[in-house]
Amino acid sequence: MWDYSDTLKEHFFEPRNAGAIEDANAVGDVGSISCGDALRLTLKVNPETEVIEQAGFQTFGCGSAIASSSALTEIIKGKTVDEALTVSNQDIADFLDGMPPEKMHCSVMGREALQAAVANFRGEEWSDDHEEGALICKCFAIDAVMIEETVRANELRTVEEVTNYTKAGGGCSSCHEGIEEILTQVWAEKGEAIDFSQPSQPVTQPKPYAMTGFQRMKKIETTIEAIRPQLQRDHGDIELVDIDGRTIYVNMLGACKGCQLEAQTLAGVQQQLMEALGEFIKVVPASMRPQAEGAAS
């Protein structure tokens, strides 16, 4: 039995806004029939103010699909369309006091229905580019498609690298066999075999030449820039605040801020910076920076 929160159960047994809105002017149909979820979101949007006046849902889905549909409609009612679009999957999950990782796709579906409905309201065509695969890492809710894409895009070869880039495998480590399988398959397509029995590459040794302070700063900046899209995918972000010798201060933003995985993400950033710089550095949240100058954070 799933470990559903009381709030989630309550929204399942007593769903808010179930049913279609009669004279809706925004309809979003999304779903994934193979995984057993489908959702139609109907909204009544005030054409003048763009405020969502009424929201209704019809869901074919499990307990958390119904509960997250209920939560979504509650959250967006009274918001303008633009405000509603800033609602993240995590917001929906948080509204329900959390969701099992296997079920996070239910909250994703809610968000997509909203995007589809807004597109419909604006007379646009909405197409979904998000593909979902089997869940590999249960600790951090990372699926096979996400891992595969990241492995391809970054030519990753080890489980450790996959963990650094996607977080997958960074928790209980039970999914390492599954990650190795994905790596094996991706590289086999390129005609290469990977030998996991070799110890993974140690952190690159310092380069024979030293960078100037300016070059080093630039390098740190571009490395962090390169990491951002990946965090933005999860509706988070990162900002470089200061470089103090071997300590690099950053701000975690959006969904990354205060999330349980913050430490994990920082470790990943640190790893990538070390590889880029070829030296040992420490990545620390800016909140831990000595605040003598009284700088705004």
């Binding site: 159960k9 399942f12 047994f13 769903p15 179930a18 049913g19 149909d29 999304v30 779903g31 994934s32 029939i33 193979s34 995984c35 057993g36 979820d37 489908a38 959702l39 139609r40 849902f57 019809q58 869901t59 074919f60 889905g61 499990c62 307990g63 958390s64 699909a65 119904i66 099992p100 296997e102 079920k103 796709h105 997509e112 589809a116 909405w126 197409s127 979904d128 998000h130 593909e131 979902e132 695969g133 089997a134 869940l135």
Partner: protein, 403 residues
Amino acid sequence: MSEGIYLDNNATTMVDPKVVDAMMPYFTEQFGNPSSMHSFGDKVGRALKQARKQIQQLIGAEHDSEIVFTSCGTESDSTAILSALKAQPDRKKIITTNVEHPAVLALCDYLKKEGYKIHHLHVDEKGRLDLEEYEELLDSRTAVVSVMWANNETGTIFPVEKMAEMAHEKGVMFHTDAVQAVGKIPIDLKATKIDLLSISGHKLHAPKGIGVLYLRRGTRFRPLLRGGHQERGRRAGTENTASIVGLGKAAELALESIEHENTFVKSLRDRLEKGILEAIPNCFVTGDPDNRLPNTCNIAFEYIEGESILLMINKMGIAASSGSACTSGSLEPSHVMRAMDIPYTAAHGSVRFSLSRYNTLAEIDKVIEVMPAIVANLRKMSPYWGENGPVENPEEAFAPVYN
């Protein structure tokens, strides 16, 4: 649990109180190791012998030495299949079905990566095998056939006795996962050509964590666990004595009540099925209704999702299970439903009710009473459902953008 209505006996069963009584002494005063020379071990050794006999009788084995105790049904399945491969290193092919339990399927997936050739027999829309397809696949490169006796989700029974004969004629070893069948339907192994058979205690009112591998005398065998001489060297490790005694007792009780199972329990199952089908539109039985376990019925409720149904009935104290993707946390509905080509909109709404001799008429009537409202309630929320029935052309009327 005694408060609720338990209709999930294919998942696991309550340990019969008589089984618990039989086991108790083997935790305390009868704690000896059956291998020991002294009197502490001696009595335990004799208890194991009796348990072996009780199981022998339930499955009609010719010799009691054909019973090998294991730790669970999964271990029995793994032992049987891996033994067949190890004992016949030149044979690299396995024949199984699309609808096996993961205990067999996942092992076969793994073996495929190791270079073995796996053939999955297909089933038709009622979950039945095509024996001609099977006949053609049997050859001298086949190491083992592994086909379940009865399906855990639908209860559909496969003609394993016939299939074992066919394998025998071609000189191929035959294993059957009989975890769901043993104790529910009469079995007489000495009259068959089955070489290996798996049993799991917790499906027949014995504890979890005890199983049996039936190993026909003369079948070439390679142990999974090597070590001490327990189970005549075929399965090393000090015996789980209390559970073995419990399984023996459970086997004795199952044999006594097999008639009851196929009359009374079956009549409850039929009543439940009829009651639901009559009261609820757009639902149907999956599997082969004419050829299945007496305790199982699997009903697909169209246009709603199984986990939602389970949560709703759970609130009323009723326990069942579902083949929906969401109950398992996977993205696909049950492989058994998919194999039978049940449409997604129904496969996700499949609910399995599995009874036992502890269920009562009153319980069944209660379930028949509450189901219609629960289904109607969920359908009211479904985008595939209109005022009084499915929307016209449901698949077209609601055609979401899919992931």
